[in-house]
Protein backbone atom coordinates (compact mmCIF):
# COMPACT_ATOMS: atom_id res chain seq x y z
CA UNK A 1 0.00 0.00 0.00
CA UNK A 2 1.49 3.40 -0.95
CA UNK A 3 2.50 5.77 1.85
CA UNK A 4 3.00 9.51 1.42
CA UNK A 5 6.09 11.34 2.67
CA UNK A 6 5.12 14.86 3.65
CA UNK A 7 7.23 18.02 3.73
CA UNK A 8 8.02 18.24 7.46
CA UNK A 9 6.96 21.07 9.74
CA UNK A 10 10.26 22.04 11.36
CA UNK A 11 9.40 25.35 12.89
CA UNK A 12 5.99 26.86 13.52
CA UNK A 13 7.23 30.06 11.88
CA UNK A 14 8.13 28.35 8.62
CA UNK A 15 5.29 27.61 6.19
CA UNK A 16 7.73 27.13 3.33
CA UNK A 17 10.96 25.15 3.26
CA UNK A 18 13.53 24.70 0.53
CA UNK A 19 14.54 21.33 -0.84
CA UNK A 20 18.34 21.10 -0.74
CA UNK A 21 18.78 17.44 -1.57
CA UNK A 22 16.71 14.57 -2.97
CA UNK A 23 18.66 11.39 -2.34
CA UNK A 24 16.31 8.97 -4.14
CA UNK A 25 14.40 8.67 -7.36
CA UNK A 26 11.46 6.61 -8.58
CA UNK A 27 12.18 2.89 -8.40
CA UNK A 28 14.80 3.11 -5.65
CA UNK A 29 14.39 0.82 -2.66
CA UNK A 30 14.59 2.44 0.76
CA UNK A 31 14.87 1.20 4.32
CA UNK A 32 13.33 2.71 7.41
CA UNK A 33 15.58 5.50 8.63
CA UNK A 34 17.29 6.10 5.28
CA UNK A 35 17.79 9.79 4.59
CA UNK A 36 15.74 10.35 1.45
CA UNK A 37 15.89 14.15 1.26
CA UNK A 38 17.04 17.27 3.07
CA UNK A 39 15.05 20.45 3.59
CA UNK A 40 16.26 23.82 4.72
CA UNK A 41 14.52 26.38 6.89
CA UNK A 42 15.74 29.76 8.07
CA UNK A 43 17.60 28.00 10.84
CA UNK A 44 18.99 24.72 9.66
CA UNK A 45 19.15 21.89 7.18
CA UNK A 46 17.33 18.81 8.40
CA UNK A 47 17.13 15.32 6.98
CA UNK A 48 13.89 13.62 5.95
CA UNK A 49 13.97 9.91 6.70
CA UNK A 50 11.95 7.05 5.26
CA UNK A 51 9.42 5.86 7.82
CA UNK A 52 9.05 2.40 6.31
CA UNK A 53 10.82 -0.01 4.01
CA UNK A 54 9.69 0.06 0.38
CA UNK A 55 10.19 1.54 -3.05
CA UNK A 56 10.00 5.13 -4.19
CA UNK A 57 7.01 5.41 -6.51
CA UNK A 58 7.15 9.08 -7.47
CA UNK A 59 8.96 12.23 -6.31
CA UNK A 60 7.04 15.50 -6.63
CA UNK A 61 9.77 18.08 -6.05
CA UNK A 62 13.27 18.97 -7.16
CA UNK A 63 16.34 20.39 -5.47
CA UNK A 64 15.98 24.14 -4.81
CA UNK A 65 12.17 23.98 -4.98
CA UNK A 66 10.48 26.02 -2.25
CA UNK A 67 7.58 23.92 -1.05
CA UNK A 68 4.74 24.21 1.41
CA UNK A 69 4.99 22.38 4.72
CA UNK A 70 2.58 19.45 4.75
CA UNK A 71 2.50 18.90 1.00
CA UNK A 72 3.40 15.49 -0.39
CA UNK A 73 7.11 15.17 -1.21
CA UNK A 74 6.98 11.60 -2.55
CA UNK A 75 5.15 8.29 -2.34
CA UNK A 76 6.69 5.06 -1.09
CA UNK A 77 5.07 1.71 -1.87
CA UNK A 78 5.60 -1.89 -0.83
CA UNK A 79 6.49 -2.82 -4.41
CA UNK A 80 8.03 -0.70 -7.19
CA UNK A 81 5.09 -1.05 -9.56
CA UNK A 82 2.23 0.15 -7.38
CA UNK A 83 0.13 2.92 -8.89
CA UNK A 84 0.69 6.40 -7.50
CA UNK A 85 -2.44 7.64 -5.72
CA UNK A 86 -4.25 10.74 -6.89
CA UNK A 87 -3.09 13.95 -5.18
CA UNK A 88 -4.28 14.18 -1.56
CA UNK A 89 -6.34 10.99 -1.78
CA UNK A 90 -4.28 9.40 1.01
CA UNK A 91 -3.83 12.43 3.22
CA UNK A 92 -5.35 11.67 6.58
CA UNK A 93 -7.09 14.30 8.66
CA UNK A 94 -4.27 14.68 11.15
CA UNK A 95 -1.44 15.20 8.69
CA UNK A 96 0.88 18.21 9.00
CA UNK A 97 -0.91 20.24 6.33
CA UNK A 98 -3.96 20.41 8.54
CA UNK A 99 -1.85 21.44 11.47
CA UNK A 100 -0.30 24.12 9.27
CA UNK A 101 -3.79 25.42 8.47
CA UNK A 102 -4.32 25.96 12.19
CA UNK A 103 -1.22 28.10 12.52
CA UNK A 104 -1.52 31.87 12.76
CA UNK A 105 -1.88 33.71 9.47
CA UNK A 106 1.28 35.24 8.01
CA UNK A 107 0.26 38.78 9.01
CA UNK A 108 -0.61 37.59 12.50
CA UNK A 109 2.78 35.93 12.84
CA UNK A 110 4.55 39.10 11.73
CA UNK A 111 2.66 41.10 14.34
CA UNK A 112 3.35 38.48 17.04
CA UNK A 113 7.04 38.58 16.26
CA UNK A 114 7.09 42.36 16.24
CA UNK A 115 5.59 42.49 19.72
CA UNK A 116 7.45 39.52 21.18
CA UNK A 117 4.18 37.65 21.76
CA UNK A 118 3.36 33.96 21.62
CA UNK A 119 0.35 32.68 19.66
CA UNK A 120 -0.79 30.70 22.69
CA UNK A 121 -1.30 33.94 24.64
CA UNK A 122 -3.87 35.34 22.26
CA UNK A 123 -7.60 34.47 22.28
CA UNK A 124 -8.78 33.67 18.76
CA UNK A 125 -12.17 34.13 17.15
CA UNK A 126 -11.89 31.42 14.49
CA UNK A 127 -9.80 28.32 13.82
CA UNK A 128 -6.72 30.34 12.82
CA UNK A 129 -5.25 33.23 14.73
CA UNK A 130 -5.67 36.36 12.60
CA UNK A 131 -4.07 39.79 12.64
CA UNK A 132 -7.39 41.08 14.02
CA UNK A 133 -7.09 38.75 17.03
CA UNK A 134 -3.56 39.99 17.70
CA UNK A 135 -4.52 43.65 17.30
CA UNK A 136 -7.43 43.19 19.68
CA UNK A 137 -5.09 41.65 22.24
CA UNK A 138 -2.56 44.45 21.83
CA UNK A 139 -5.28 47.08 22.17
CA UNK A 140 -6.39 45.44 25.41
CA UNK A 141 -2.86 45.48 26.77
CA UNK A 142 -1.84 48.93 25.63
CA UNK A 143 1.04 50.27 27.66
CA UNK A 144 2.39 46.89 28.75
CA UNK A 145 6.10 46.41 28.26
CA UNK A 146 6.94 45.11 24.83
CA UNK A 147 3.55 46.06 23.41
CA UNK A 148 3.05 49.28 21.48
CA UNK A 149 -0.30 50.81 20.69
CA UNK A 150 -2.34 49.60 17.78
CA UNK A 151 -1.95 52.96 16.11
CA UNK A 152 1.82 52.76 16.39
CA UNK A 153 1.79 49.22 15.08
CA UNK A 154 -0.37 50.24 12.16
CA UNK A 155 1.96 53.09 11.28
CA UNK A 156 4.89 50.67 11.23
CA UNK A 157 2.92 48.17 9.14
CA UNK A 158 2.22 50.92 6.62
CA UNK A 159 5.77 52.23 6.41
CA UNK A 160 6.92 50.39 3.32
CA UNK A 161 10.41 51.41 2.26
CA UNK A 162 10.85 53.17 -1.04
CA UNK A 163 13.40 51.88 -3.53
CA UNK A 164 16.58 53.95 -3.74
CA UNK A 165 16.72 56.44 -6.58
CA UNK A 166 19.68 54.66 -8.16
CA UNK A 167 19.24 51.84 -10.70
CA UNK A 168 19.49 48.37 -9.16
CA UNK A 169 17.67 45.08 -8.75
CA UNK A 170 15.94 43.35 -5.84
CA UNK A 171 17.11 39.93 -4.69
CA UNK A 172 15.53 37.59 -2.14
CA UNK A 173 17.53 36.91 1.02
CA UNK A 174 19.02 33.46 1.42
CA UNK A 175 17.84 31.43 4.39
CA UNK A 176 20.99 32.39 6.31
CA UNK A 177 20.65 36.07 5.44
CA UNK A 178 17.03 35.98 6.52
CA UNK A 179 18.03 34.39 9.84
CA UNK A 180 20.62 37.09 10.46
CA UNK A 181 18.12 39.81 9.59
CA UNK A 182 15.63 38.34 12.06
CA UNK A 183 18.27 38.24 14.79
CA UNK A 184 19.44 41.81 14.41
CA UNK A 185 15.83 42.98 14.12
CA UNK A 186 15.01 41.31 17.48
CA UNK A 187 18.10 42.98 18.92
CA UNK A 188 16.91 46.36 17.65
CA UNK A 189 13.21 46.04 18.43
CA UNK A 190 13.25 44.22 21.77
CA UNK A 191 16.52 44.32 23.65
CA UNK A 192 17.92 47.47 25.23
CA UNK A 193 21.54 46.68 24.71
CA UNK A 194 24.69 47.95 26.31
CA UNK A 195 28.30 46.81 26.09
CA UNK A 196 31.12 46.39 28.60
CA UNK A 197 34.62 45.08 28.26
CA UNK A 198 37.43 44.14 30.58
CA UNK A 199 41.17 43.89 29.92
CA UNK A 200 42.94 40.72 30.98
CA UNK A 201 46.07 38.67 30.39
CA UNK A 202 45.19 35.72 28.17
CA UNK A 203 48.41 33.80 28.92
CA UNK A 204 46.89 31.89 31.83
CA UNK A 205 44.00 30.72 29.72
CA UNK A 206 46.38 29.80 26.85
CA UNK A 207 48.53 27.72 29.17
CA UNK A 208 45.54 25.96 30.64
CA UNK A 209 44.10 25.20 27.18
CA UNK A 210 47.46 23.85 25.96
CA UNK A 211 47.75 21.54 28.96
CA UNK A 212 44.16 20.39 28.52
CA UNK A 213 44.76 19.69 24.83
CA UNK A 214 47.90 17.68 25.58
CA UNK A 215 46.19 15.64 28.26
CA UNK A 216 43.28 14.75 25.96
CA UNK A 217 45.33 14.61 22.74
CA UNK A 218 43.08 17.11 21.00
CA UNK A 219 43.61 18.13 17.39
CA UNK A 220 42.50 21.69 18.14
CA UNK A 221 43.06 24.16 20.93
CA UNK A 222 40.14 23.98 23.38
CA UNK A 223 40.69 27.61 24.46
CA UNK A 224 37.37 28.97 23.21
CA UNK A 225 35.28 25.94 24.28
CA UNK A 226 36.83 26.12 27.75
CA UNK A 227 36.05 29.83 28.02
CA UNK A 228 32.49 29.21 26.81
CA UNK A 229 32.17 26.44 29.37
CA UNK A 230 33.27 28.86 32.09
CA UNK A 231 30.33 31.05 31.04
CA UNK A 232 27.98 28.08 31.39
CA UNK A 233 29.26 27.44 34.91
CA UNK A 234 28.77 31.09 35.84
CA UNK A 235 25.18 30.87 34.55
CA UNK A 236 24.53 27.93 36.86
CA UNK A 237 25.41 30.14 39.80
CA UNK A 238 23.92 33.34 38.41
CA UNK A 239 20.61 32.42 36.70
CA UNK A 240 19.70 35.98 35.76
CA UNK A 241 22.29 35.97 32.95
CA UNK A 242 20.42 33.00 31.48
CA UNK A 243 17.12 34.79 31.04
CA UNK A 244 15.03 37.05 28.83
CA UNK A 245 12.16 39.49 29.23
CA UNK A 246 8.64 38.49 28.16
CA UNK A 247 5.70 40.84 28.52
CA UNK A 248 7.40 42.82 31.23
CA UNK A 249 8.41 39.79 33.26
CA UNK A 250 11.77 38.13 33.63
CA UNK A 251 11.81 34.63 32.17
CA UNK A 252 14.51 32.49 33.80
CA UNK A 253 15.45 29.48 31.71
CA UNK A 254 15.58 26.10 33.45
CA UNK A 255 18.55 24.99 31.37
CA UNK A 256 21.58 26.62 29.80
CA UNK A 257 21.58 26.30 26.00
CA UNK A 258 24.88 27.83 25.02
CA UNK A 259 24.90 29.62 21.68
CA UNK A 260 28.34 29.63 20.04
CA UNK A 261 29.04 31.45 16.79
CA UNK A 262 30.73 29.54 13.98
CA UNK A 263 31.71 30.97 10.62
CA UNK A 264 31.57 28.10 8.14
CA UNK A 265 32.57 29.35 4.71
CA UNK A 266 30.39 32.34 3.90
CA UNK A 267 27.80 31.47 6.53
CA UNK A 268 27.71 32.59 10.15
CA UNK A 269 25.86 30.15 12.39
CA UNK A 270 24.81 30.49 15.99
CA UNK A 271 25.16 26.86 16.94
CA UNK A 272 23.57 25.68 20.17
CA UNK A 273 24.72 23.22 22.80
CA UNK A 274 21.53 22.15 24.54
CA UNK A 275 21.61 21.64 28.32
CA UNK A 276 25.27 22.54 28.58
CA UNK A 277 24.80 23.02 32.31
CA UNK A 278 24.61 19.27 32.93
CA UNK A 279 27.86 18.55 31.07
CA UNK A 280 31.40 18.45 32.39
CA UNK A 281 34.15 20.27 30.51
CA UNK A 282 35.16 17.33 28.33
CA UNK A 283 31.56 16.53 27.42
CA UNK A 284 30.97 20.15 26.50
CA UNK A 285 34.07 20.32 24.28
CA UNK A 286 33.06 17.10 22.52
CA UNK A 287 29.49 18.32 22.02
CA UNK A 288 30.72 21.60 20.59
CA UNK A 289 33.19 19.83 18.29
CA UNK A 290 30.41 17.68 16.89
CA UNK A 291 28.13 20.66 16.32
CA UNK A 292 30.97 22.52 14.60
CA UNK A 293 31.48 19.61 12.23
CA UNK A 294 27.76 19.56 11.46
CA UNK A 295 27.87 23.30 10.72
CA UNK A 296 30.80 22.91 8.34
CA UNK A 297 29.01 20.04 6.60
CA UNK A 298 25.81 22.18 6.52
CA UNK A 299 23.97 19.44 8.36
CA UNK A 300 22.97 21.11 11.59
CA UNK A 301 20.00 19.50 13.29
CA UNK A 302 17.23 21.87 14.40
CA UNK A 303 18.19 21.49 18.06
CA UNK A 304 21.76 22.47 17.16
CA UNK A 305 20.75 25.86 15.81
CA UNK A 306 17.76 26.97 17.88
CA UNK A 307 16.92 27.78 21.46
CA UNK A 308 20.07 29.58 22.65
CA UNK A 309 19.63 31.05 26.12
CA UNK A 310 23.11 32.55 26.42
CA UNK A 311 25.82 33.39 23.90
CA UNK A 312 29.56 33.27 23.28
CA UNK A 313 31.29 34.66 20.22
CA UNK A 314 34.88 35.04 19.09
CA UNK A 315 36.44 36.95 16.22
CA UNK A 316 40.01 36.19 17.24
CA UNK A 317 40.40 34.02 14.16
CA UNK A 318 40.46 37.18 12.05
CA UNK A 319 42.68 39.04 14.52
CA UNK A 320 39.80 41.33 15.43
CA UNK A 321 40.82 42.93 18.71
CA UNK A 322 37.39 44.18 19.77
CA UNK A 323 33.83 43.42 18.69
CA UNK A 324 30.39 44.29 20.01
CA UNK A 325 28.16 41.29 19.28
CA UNK A 326 24.45 41.32 18.51
CA UNK A 327 22.34 39.48 21.09
CA UNK A 328 20.70 36.26 19.98
CA UNK A 329 16.89 36.47 20.20
CA UNK A 330 15.50 35.89 23.70
CA UNK A 331 18.89 36.07 25.39
CA UNK A 332 20.31 38.66 27.76
CA UNK A 333 24.05 38.18 27.35
CA UNK A 334 26.60 37.47 24.65
CA UNK A 335 30.25 37.34 25.67
CA UNK A 336 32.71 38.46 23.00
CA UNK A 337 36.23 37.05 22.80
CA UNK A 338 38.76 38.90 20.66
CA UNK A 339 42.39 38.60 19.67
CA UNK A 340 45.09 40.25 21.78
CA UNK A 341 46.12 43.34 19.79
CA UNK A 342 49.61 43.31 18.33
CA UNK A 343 50.07 39.60 18.97
CA UNK A 344 50.65 40.07 22.72
CA UNK A 345 48.74 38.47 25.55
CA UNK A 346 46.86 41.48 26.86
CA UNK A 347 43.36 41.26 25.41
CA UNK A 348 39.83 42.46 26.13
CA UNK A 349 36.82 40.33 26.85
CA UNK A 350 33.57 42.10 26.02
CA UNK A 351 29.88 41.49 26.52
CA UNK A 352 26.69 42.79 24.95
CA UNK A 353 23.76 42.56 27.35
CA UNK A 354 20.09 43.40 27.63
CA UNK A 355 19.97 46.23 30.14
CA UNK A 356 16.31 45.49 30.88
CA UNK A 357 17.50 42.42 32.77
CA UNK A 358 21.16 42.87 33.62
CA UNK A 359 22.97 45.82 35.12
CA UNK A 360 26.51 46.88 34.34
CA UNK A 361 27.46 45.55 37.75
CA UNK A 362 26.06 42.10 36.89
CA UNK A 363 28.01 41.95 33.66
CA UNK A 364 31.20 43.28 35.23
CA UNK A 365 30.97 40.40 37.72
CA UNK A 366 30.60 37.92 34.86
CA UNK A 367 33.61 39.35 33.02
CA UNK A 368 35.62 39.39 36.23
CA UNK A 369 34.99 35.67 36.66
CA UNK A 370 35.59 34.93 32.98
CA UNK A 371 38.96 36.64 32.93
CA UNK A 372 40.36 34.76 35.92
CA UNK A 373 42.81 32.14 34.70
CA UNK A 374 41.64 28.60 35.46
CA UNK A 375 43.53 26.66 38.09
CA UNK A 376 45.12 23.39 37.13
CA UNK A 377 43.72 20.45 39.06
Amino acid sequence: MPHPVYIPCVNINDDIVQIVDIAVSAGDSVKTGDVIAEVETDKAVIPVEAEQDGYVLKVFCDVEDRVKVGSVMMWIGDSPDEPVPEPDSKKPAEEPSRKASQQPTAKARALLEKHNLQAEQIPRQGERLTVGDVEAFIAGHDGAAGVVSTAQAQRREDSEELLPGVPGSLQSLSAEEHGMASTVTWHRDHAVTAYLEMAYDQQGWEDYAAAFAERHKFMLSPLLPLMAYRLVKIARDMPKINATLVNGQKYLYDQVNLGFTIQAGETLYLTVIQQADVMDDRQFIDALGEVQRHAIAKKLRPDESMGATLGFSSMARWNVSRHVPVLAPYTALMVAHSAPPGGGQSAVLGASYDHRILSGHDVANVLQEMTQSPEFP
Binding site: K217, S221, A264, A287, G289, R293, I296, A297
Partner: protein, 86 residues
Amino acid sequence: MEKNEIKTKIREKLTELAGELGNDASQISDDDIIPATGLVDSIRILGLVVWYEKAFGMSLKQEEINIDNLGSIELMADYVLKRKSG
Protein backbone atom coordinates in the same frame (compact mmCIF):
# COMPACT_ATOMS: atom_id res chain seq x y z
CA MET B 1 42.15 1.78 -1.90
CA GLU B 2 45.92 1.62 -1.43
CA LYS B 3 47.58 3.52 1.41
CA ASN B 4 49.62 5.68 -0.95
CA GLU B 5 46.50 6.65 -2.84
CA ILE B 6 44.83 7.63 0.44
CA LYS B 7 47.84 9.71 1.45
CA THR B 8 47.87 11.46 -1.91
CA LYS B 9 44.21 12.44 -1.56
CA ILE B 10 44.76 13.74 1.98
CA ARG B 11 47.81 15.72 0.91
CA GLU B 12 45.89 17.28 -1.99
CA LYS B 13 43.08 18.37 0.31
CA LEU B 14 45.49 19.70 2.91
CA THR B 15 47.33 21.65 0.23
CA GLU B 16 44.05 23.11 -0.99
CA LEU B 17 43.03 24.19 2.53
CA ALA B 18 46.44 25.67 3.31
CA GLY B 19 46.36 27.48 -0.02
CA GLU B 20 43.21 29.31 1.11
CA LEU B 21 45.40 30.94 3.75
CA GLY B 22 48.24 31.60 1.33
CA ASN B 23 50.34 28.74 2.74
CA ASP B 24 52.11 26.03 0.77
CA ALA B 25 51.57 22.58 2.28
CA SER B 26 52.93 20.61 -0.69
CA GLN B 27 56.20 19.90 1.10
CA ILE B 28 54.66 18.68 4.36
CA SER B 29 56.01 15.25 5.30
CA ASP B 30 53.78 12.28 5.99
CA ASP B 31 54.73 12.36 9.67
CA ASP B 32 54.40 16.09 10.37
CA ILE B 33 51.80 16.80 13.03
CA ILE B 34 49.28 18.81 11.02
CA PRO B 35 48.03 21.21 13.74
CA ALA B 36 51.61 21.94 14.79
CA THR B 37 52.68 22.99 11.29
CA GLY B 38 50.57 26.14 11.47
CA LEU B 39 49.71 25.72 7.78
CA VAL B 40 45.99 25.49 8.46
CA ASP B 41 43.85 27.14 11.13
CA SER B 42 41.39 25.41 13.42
CA ILE B 43 38.35 25.84 11.19
CA ARG B 44 40.23 24.30 8.25
CA ILE B 45 41.39 21.39 10.38
CA LEU B 46 37.72 20.80 11.15
CA GLY B 47 37.03 21.15 7.42
CA LEU B 48 39.72 18.55 6.73
CA VAL B 49 38.05 16.15 9.18
CA VAL B 50 34.61 16.71 7.63
CA TRP B 51 36.06 16.11 4.16
CA TYR B 52 37.93 13.01 5.44
CA GLU B 53 34.73 11.46 6.74
CA LYS B 54 32.96 12.02 3.44
CA ALA B 55 35.86 11.12 1.15
CA PHE B 56 36.47 7.78 2.83
CA GLY B 57 32.88 6.97 3.78
CA MET B 58 33.32 7.02 7.54
CA SER B 59 31.37 8.65 10.33
CA LEU B 60 33.70 9.53 13.18
CA LYS B 61 32.75 9.83 16.81
CA GLN B 62 34.12 12.91 18.51
CA GLU B 63 36.46 10.86 20.69
CA GLU B 64 38.08 9.39 17.57
CA ILE B 65 39.21 12.83 16.45
CA ASN B 66 42.54 13.07 18.21
CA ILE B 67 46.24 13.37 17.48
CA ASP B 68 46.83 9.63 17.77
CA ASN B 69 44.34 8.84 15.01
CA LEU B 70 44.38 11.89 12.74
CA GLY B 71 47.47 13.88 13.70
CA SER B 72 49.42 13.42 10.46
CA ILE B 73 48.89 12.30 6.88
CA GLU B 74 50.41 8.92 7.77
CA LEU B 75 48.14 8.47 10.78
CA MET B 76 45.06 9.56 8.85
CA ALA B 77 45.79 7.02 6.12
CA ASP B 78 46.42 4.29 8.68
CA TYR B 79 43.15 5.11 10.37
CA VAL B 80 41.18 4.76 7.13
CA LEU B 81 42.64 1.31 6.61
CA LYS B 82 42.06 0.35 10.24
CA ARG B 83 38.43 1.41 10.10
CA LYS B 84 37.86 -0.30 6.77
CA SER B 85 39.38 -3.55 7.98
CA GLY B 86 37.55 -3.43 11.31
